[in-house]
Symmetry: C2
Subunit: 323 residues, 2 copies
């Protein structure tokens, strides 16, 4: 079982075929960064079109059982998520609506302050807002998972406390290994783990030690040490693969419509675009490298299987359904 | 089994309780007259709130199996429909989106010309439009039923021809019995029947012979004659009950935002509001009167059961799922 819990590619038949080649049984894809509700619906529509066009490669995923069906049919089940609460605008009723349409993860923030919580790029972190508390409760009710990947520390720890169901960070690495702003301090990881949640390891170079030069064994050692420290049952993959995207898309991700000035996020004026991926993880065909790498650093077969997809599968089983 | 295939009440706990008292197992409710997509989503949200507030009385219905579950639990399953294609705006991708949200019937027109077809109040009926043909195909694909209750004759007959799945008139009566503009001529009913579709008999006084003074036996005789003429398997109820609505709502139904001048539709300047219901069908508690009335005019038990809900149940079973 292979599950990647975060990708945002420039989707094409080529990439869907690469997913099959890489034996990816399920993938969580981002369908909103700054989109409002109506724009997000348009993105759902685009995926409906792809499901109709490529039924032999992909299918819509809404429950863990859809992954089993996809495996049986040799397809990849695609699960939807938002990296920002912008799709629900200021309307708590939209939480159930987007869940009905298929959304299964929603970040409470994307770098900036949102109506719900504080993003990891803000200088002040005021925690979960009044609306944020209501929305977490509603997300818990319907089965929309709280994702704090781009949130600030206090907001994340408070979200874990407010939420009555597990919360996750779908795509980030331990800050102690690579001190990027987006990576998570041990106290934050511990809060997620204590909630019963999951941390998905990112392959995005800005989140890696030595960035694009990060070695496979270095990455896999980090996974093994995180398993020892926090429990192997709480970790998986969330590659953050942004394959084939033009640099204009990284600009949309970073500034959306919230600024007239450029914000380089994890990049810089001299390196504004997507950094090159490490040579051992270029696209969906390379999940086998990670599987081998995890074994090579001494992880047991059942541990490797848990990290490659088993843990996310179990998480999907219990967290996407209403309470 | 009792299924009413059209109501648009001013919903309240009182009415939900009356549905239980009247042993209504399922009801098709209108959630859009002139609402655009976002406004219709708001109406879905409002129903989600009611399902949360009154779980012992009502539940959301999307498949025929939901009716069985509702019966077992002593609840009424609520199915959604639109009396206008306004919720899909000019975007064919919204057909699948609204189906995913729970819509199961959509009228191609509401009295006026729409992007898809001609309404029954227009002087010229140009049939199904270019977009209309595409939308019918998409509705067929996803399992959203074409409802021509408020459409003009040619448009209805063409829709039956274009559609590869049965089409319906959820709420109207034979024009030969009561020559209202909204009632359907035999050629139109025949086209619906030939498609494998259904005619739901309306209890709205403007559609009844002698309007509010229509007798129960007169109504039931009409049902029995229609069964003889077109086949008992093609008929059911679609009461068009608009209980507890203020007159401002009939104004919204009639003019929406399309006119600054008042249009009285089936009413008149001297009688602009909702007409009084016949005394044998005031609300959901009175379905038993119709059941008795149908037996009294000589219909057999199995025929009565078919008209009261069995036929709609069978129709729901096959027409709400994708092909």
């Amino acid at each position: 079982m292979r599950i990647d819990c975060l990708q945002y590619a420039n989707w094409s038949k080529k990439i869907f075929e690469q997913m099959r080649e890489g034996k990816v049984d399920a993938v969580h894809v981002t369908i909103a960064y700054h989109e409002n509700f109506r724009e997000t619906v348009h993105n759902f529509e685009q995926w409906n079109r792809w499901f109709e066009q490529y039924p032999e490669l992909i299918c819509k995923g809404t429950t863990a059982a859809d992954i089993d069906a996809a495996r049986d049919a040799g397809r990849t089940a695609v699960f939807f998520g938002f990296q920002n609460p912008s799709p629900i605008e200021d309307d708590i009723g939209l939480v159930e609506i987007v869940h009905t349409l298929g959304a299964r993860f929603m970040q409470l923030t994307y770098n900036n302050q949102s109506l719900l919580a504080t993003g990891c790029y803000e200088s002040e972190d005021t925690g979960i807002t009044r609306m944020g508390k209501q929305v977490i409760k509603e997300m818990n009710r319907v089965g929309l998972v709280v994702d704090m990947s781009h949130s600030a520390d206090r907001s994340t720890i408070e979200a874990a406390d407010v939420s009555e169901r597990p919360i996750v960070v779908t795509h980030a690495n331990p800050h102690a290994w690579a001190p990027a702003l987006r990576n998570k301090k041990d106290s934050v990881i511990q809060a997620i783990v204590n909630s019963g949640g999951m941390l998905g390891f990112s392959l995005y170079p800005h989140h890696l030690k030595d960035k694009s030069d990060c070695t496979l064994s270095g990455f896999c050692e980090m996974v093994a040490r995180t398993a020892e420290k926090f429990g192997v049952e709480h970790i998986g993959l969330g590659s953050d693969l942004c394959q084939d995207q033009p640099d204009s898309v990284v600009e949309w991700m970073r500034v959306g419509r919230w600024s007239k000035e450029m914000d380089y996020g994890e990049g810089s004026a001299s390196q504004p675009g997507f950094p090159p991926m490490p040579d051992w993880f270029k696209d969906n065909r390379d999940f086998g490298n990670i599987e081998t790498g995890l074994r090579d650093v001494g992880m047991q077969d059942e541990e490797v299987a848990a990290v490659m997809g088993g843990n996310w599968y179990r998480f999907f089983e219990t967290n996407f359904v209403p309470r």
